[in-house]
Subunit: 447 residues, 2 copies
């Protein structure tokens, strides 16, 4: 059933302490990790030694005083941190989340082009739209734009950014010192973009980078998000609880990508997985229980309220999970939908939902032996519910180590995962081509 | 005459090839330098070994096809590059130029706080307003805002940014794993800024960084720029051609700073100096002539036109420098004024002006032996025309080496310049305090 050329891909989703909301309280965690570059450098080196495709940081443009009381929020800006990691690593891909909602395309295109140069072609951009009023209020607004407008804006933003990345053709730089010719100005293009949201003349002030543009990643699984992903994204992060849901998502996305004229192999689907690893399944479940016991329900409730965009503080923890007005959600639409379906399908109380979400915010948790986790990965991969996984250790110290020390070698033994890097760039790792430069194409066609 | 505690300061202003517009054509230059991180790393290591206070990159938010034909424009975004340099250096300060005109204060405050954390307190921000229509056209505008509005906006931008940097008090992080308390939410503050240009709720999502905020640097010498510098800047870059002008500027700035209630020692004045160093004065002048001979008048004229915001392409090179409508200039006001005064005072032709500007765009060039250059530096420093210098090698390879190999040791022999770093942060190097946190002050006063 496995296609001969299919390669399993593994991305490490780094949360500074770990993905479990209480990871920071665990005795193995050093609470200074989020601001300790040496720590991140060790993580990156470990991921690179394990030959992972990439590592990745999420982002959020706010942190309220309430959020930081019981929870470890606030840290280094992802692209800043990944830029620093770029010059102390050699092979692993580096994916930074940056929002389209409150940035200028020129600034973003420039930072990513610089990052791609500095990393030697290992840059990836996880494209998000910011979804909360709290974030909007840091950027001159009272309320966040509605979901459809956010995506309309993101689409135009991406259009401008890709034009800017193409504005220097690959061979634009001449650098003839004798003749005094630095660039072929016929190969450096104004883009003259004028749209509904942006008006940008160009060209970019950075020459073409090794990958042409960063790898484009997307993580929204709503209807708008999925459509956006199918049209533009080269790798997709998604939260899927069951094999059936994951396979449905996978097929739907590949089908939609084909409708946009894209090759389905050029759209890599990576569901999140939160592994909890023990020598026995029992030990793994104990580790899970140990972390869950450190959760603070008041904090969990606050974070869930922010996630679904609805204040849950008035509800009783041991009552059935309340009906949420899903239609009114303005924030994380698909995640809210996932949570509501999970609660209904298993008749969970509010407290039970909080426990389920504690380890990975709705991503699939699996506690077991390395073999069990490898079985799970092999099953989803082989039966085309996933092209690989977005690996989200519940706790970094210990948890991530167990994954690279025990699960990765098991996957390698099974012939599922690489034992050496074969390429130099992030696109190489994911088997993705460098997109053609639209201006070079025009030359080639004699336009 | 020298005050006992005065320390000479040296900042390296890095232009990837060198500050001479033809540096890229020189046989000692490798044209790939602007995208070669290993090269920048060597420069930074050399500057650090020489115990310089800091290194610095300028910025511009555009590059037209015409500009890159004969000139080496376009390169890595400064803050991105300096972030990467932060993790491969240990002591030297790192100053990045970022414009207030086309950024959001929340994003900028966050990047600099992250940069200050990653560098262990070595971050500096050169605050600029963007001054050209060409830049405005990359950010949804046809024309740049007028000079006064740019500074009004910059003032409010800075107000928001400093509030955000104060929004986490120094001791806000508790990190009590046992009790499950991460931060003291009473010490994490919403800023609730509502002004003419910005509305920002806060707090920042990065905790307080080692320096509290980056060192604030400013480089505008117009009336508005000077006032802004006197009120806010801790270090000032300025272009001064003569000792008299420099001393006048120095006194005026310190006096204005005092009027704002600031200590004049906390405003460091750093005129630009473009040293051309030879074993004899004759050899230095030959080096200067060699570089000047590589200039392309068509390119020089284009760059001057952009600098003064006035198209000079219709003028004849050997006619007297034309009258410029200085009052109508919307771009670099003080630099235009300097150029016009220079041309008039010496009755220069347009070609002669181009030659004078080729090496440092209006900054003071000095060609001579290491002793002559040290004499110049000592004279301006001792007689309070400068607290130190913004060192702008006309060519990096060779030129910067000569400065650190011959001029710096001479300054050290004379007891003018440090032989070891005595502090850890950029503020330490410049002898500047960490500004008090406004919210901690309120606590202290029982408000």
């Amino acid at each position: 059933m496995r296609k001969p050329n299919r390669q399993l891909h593994l991305n490490l989703f780094v949360a500074p302490m770990g993905h479990h909301e209480a990871a920071w309280r665990h005795p193995d965690t050093n609470v200074n990790q989020p601001f300790d570059f040496a720590y991140f450098r060790r993580i990156a080196a470990k991921a690179e030694a394990a030959k992972l495709d990439s590592l990745f940081f999420a982002d959020r443009l706010s942190a309220s005083p309430g959020m930081v009381r019981y929870g470890a929020a606030g840290g280094l800006e992802p692209l800043t941190l990944l830029t620093a990691l770029a010059v102390v690593t050699r092979r692993i891909g580096l994916i930074a989340t940056v929002s389209t909602s409150f940035n200028e395309p020129f600034n973003l295109a420039r930072r990513f082009a610089s990052f791609d140069h500095l990393s030697g072609g290992r840059a990836g951009w996880n494209i998000i739209t910011s979804g909360t009023d709290e974030e909007a209020q840091n950027f001159n607004l009272n309320r966040i734009m509605d979901h459809a407008e956010r995506y309309e804006r993101a689409r135009e933003f991406l259009d401008v950014a890709t034009k800017l990345w193409d504005s220097w053709e690959e061979d634009a730089l001449i650098c003839d010192q004798q003749a005094g010719l630095y660039a072929d100005s016929a190969k450096v293009h104004e883009i003259n973009h004028k749209g509904r949201f942006y008006s940008v003349k160009g060209p970019l002030n950075v020459s073409r980078s090794p990958q042409g543009r960063p790898l484009l990643v997307q993580a929204g699984s709503s209807r708008d998000g999925r459509r956006f992903a199918a049209e533009f994204a080269e790798a997709i992060f998604t939260a899927q609880q069951t094999f059936e849901d994951a396979r449905h998502f996978y097929r739907d996305l590949k089908r939609q990508a084909e409708q946009f004229g894209r090759s389905p192999e050029h759209v890599i689907v990576l569901p999140g997985i939160c592994p909890v690893i023990g020598r026995t399944e029992e030990e793994a479940l104990e580790k899970q229980a140990e972390l869950n016991a450190l959760s603070n329900p008041a904090h969990s409730l606050l974070m869930l309220s922010k996630r679904v965009g609805f204040d849950l503080s008035g509800y009783r923890l041991d009552d059935p999970f309340p009906d949420l007005p899903v239609e009114q959600v303005r924030g994380h639409v698909s995640r809210t939908d996932l949570i509501v379906r999970l609660a209904r399908s298993e008749n969970l109380t509010l407290r039970e939902v909080l426990h389920r979400l504690a380890g990975g915010r709705g991503h699939r948790t699996i506690a077991g032996t390395p073999e069990q986790i490898a079985d799970f990965i092999e099953h989803w991969f082989t039966h085309e519910a996933a092209d690989g996984f977005n690996v989200m250790p519940q706790i970094m110290n210990g948890g991530f180590d167990d994954f690279v020390d025990f699960v990765v070698p098991e996957l390698q033994r099974r012939g599922l995962f690489r034992t050496e890097y074969t390429g130099a760039t992030l696109r190489d790792h994911y088997g993705l081509p460098v997109p053609a430069n639209r201006f070079s194409r025009e030359h080639a066609q004699g336009l």
